[in-house]
Structures are given as C-alpha cells and as structure tokens.
C-alpha cells in the first residue's frame, strides 16, 4: 500500500491540537500559532482516528491503491 495522503483544511482548523494528541503514530506536529502540520506522512497507517476525533471535520485521509 502506498502512503496515505493526509489533508488538513486550514480554513476549518482551529488549532485545538486534538489530532496531534490522539494520533498513534505522531504524524502531526501542532503549535498554537500554525495549528496542526503534517510532519511524518510516511508513518501514517490510515487508522482515521484524527478524522473521527477532529471537532471541525477538517481532516481527510486519502488512501491510494497500488497499481
């Protein structure tokens, strides 16, 4: 499986830090100024914990199938 793509909609993100706290693989880095940033996208296992926990529905994960 190729690495999933983690997309954050910065128009919706309010920098609460929930996604970076609950990510089991520490994919995000979060600070109050810039909000969540995708840091280690290659570690993402597409568990979608961040998608479920994000209170703003701002995160989307796209899993591409290998051809």
């Amino acid at each position: 499986m190729k690495t999933p793509k983690v997309l954050i909609d910065y128009k919706l993100c309010k920098r609460c830090g929930i996604c970076s706290h609950f990510c089991p693989k520490q994919v995000f880095v979060c600070d109050e100024l810039n909000g969540a940033q995708v840091d280690k996208e290659e570690d993402c296992i597409a568990c979608e914990k961040c998608v479920i926990m994000c209170p703003e529905m701002a995160i989307e994960i796209i899993t591409q199938k290998e051809e």
């Binding site: 919706l12 609460c16 929930i18 706290h21 479920i52 926990m53 209170p55 529905m57």
Partner: protein, 273 residues
Amino acid sequence: MKYTGKKFIKKDSLPFFWCAGCGNGIILACLVRAMEENNFTQENTVIVTGIGCWGKADDYLNTHTFHGTHGRALAIATGIKLAKPSLEVIVLVGDGDGATIGGNHLIHAARRNMDITVIMSNNLNYGMTGGQYSGTTPYGSITSTSRYGHGEDEFNISELVKAAGAAYVAKETIANPLRLQKFISRALKKENGFRFVEAMSICPTHYGKENRLGKAAEMIEGLKKNSLKIDLIKDRRIDELTAKIIVGEYIDREVDGYIKRYREIQKKAQNKK
C-alpha cells in the same frame, strides 16, 4: 471510512461557530454518520434544536430543521411528529436546554414515549451564556455563578430518563466516538418509543478553564479515564462510583410508542359514532 455523513453537512456554513476543541463537532460528525448508516434522507428527517451551543448545530445541516425556543425543543418536536408521523424527528438539546430549563418536557416526553430521538450534549455548564452552572454541574465545581464551588448535586440524566419510561437510553463520552455513533445508530434504528442518547462533551473555554482541567485533548483524556462501562458496575461499591461517568446502554426495551396508541384511540372514537 465507510460512512462520512458529509452529504448532510452544509459546506458553505463551515467553519462551526463553536470554540477550538469543543466536543460538539465530534458529536455532530457521529450523528451525520449514523444518519447515513441508517439511510436517512434530507426529505424525511427533521432536526429540532433548542437554544445554546449545541442548539446551533442545525445551522450546519441541510435536512429540514427547526430552531426552537430555550428548553422547548421537545415540545416542538412532539408537535411535528404528531402532525406528520412519517417524518423522522431528531432533537438536539444541551444539558442546560434539555435537563435544566426543559427538564419537565424531557421527563414527560419520555413518560409518554413520544416516537422521537433525542441527542443530548452534556458539557456540564451553560456554555453559550458564559459558563453558569446547570443541572448537571457536579458538586464542588467552579463556574461563573459558583465561584467558591457548586453546592448542589447533579442530575444523572440517563437514569432519570430511564426511570421515566423511555424505550432506549444510552450514554457515551466523546472520547469514544465510534461507540457513540453505534449508540446513536441503534437509537435511530428503533421504530417505536422515546430514544435518548447522552453524549458527555467538554467545554474547554468555560468549565475546563475554571476547573483547571487543561486543554481540549487533556479534557478528553480525563473523560476516558473517568468512564466506566455499565456491565462492570455491579460488584463495585457506591462510593467507588461517585464522579465516574457510567457509559453504555442503560435500557433497550420494546414499547408501543405514542403514535400507535394515539391511532388506537382515534379508531375507538370513530367507531363510537
């Protein structure tokens, strides 16, 4: 994910009006996913809300909605269901709206077994008006109207609604959104009677700040740590259960529902002539 529920969300109205880290967004996401799971459509669903932070949820949904007055969302929903029983009526109330100001409507709707689903977001205070204490604020907590600690005990709303006779009562925290979605989905699937799901939420802006519970993520961890499944409480002492959030399905029983009984009465009245 199998269900996203995005077809029920009005994309133009985003971002949500709620504060950073507010749990209401998680509950709303659970609700729309559960609605998609049960094949709800925009045409057959009516969302009725009251006033408060959670009452603003109808602004972001593209189903039929009715924004009612404070505490009276259940009265309005009863009217809608009786006028057109084919509609699915979902009521969104907060703890201030549903349990404190509209507490009487809640117990009587449950007693009557009105065929509606209620999703209560319980964040332990009146968030929108500045963090005053509500009927669910625990003893000893600091709010803007109880500066030296709250002197009253709180309601256990799920037990109250169960005792009032509701068909389905469940409680879950936002620390476990998939289980919350499952409970909402089961409530929506039931055909008859009053269905009630209490979602324990957080208010990092008022309740969390006043009681020094940390940021949103820490508050969610706190909910997770404090919650206890209902199957595990039988062999515990009562003093062990204070300040614990007891999650799970409180009751799931088959009842007639008010619409069915009302139709029977209508039939009797017609035959009498």
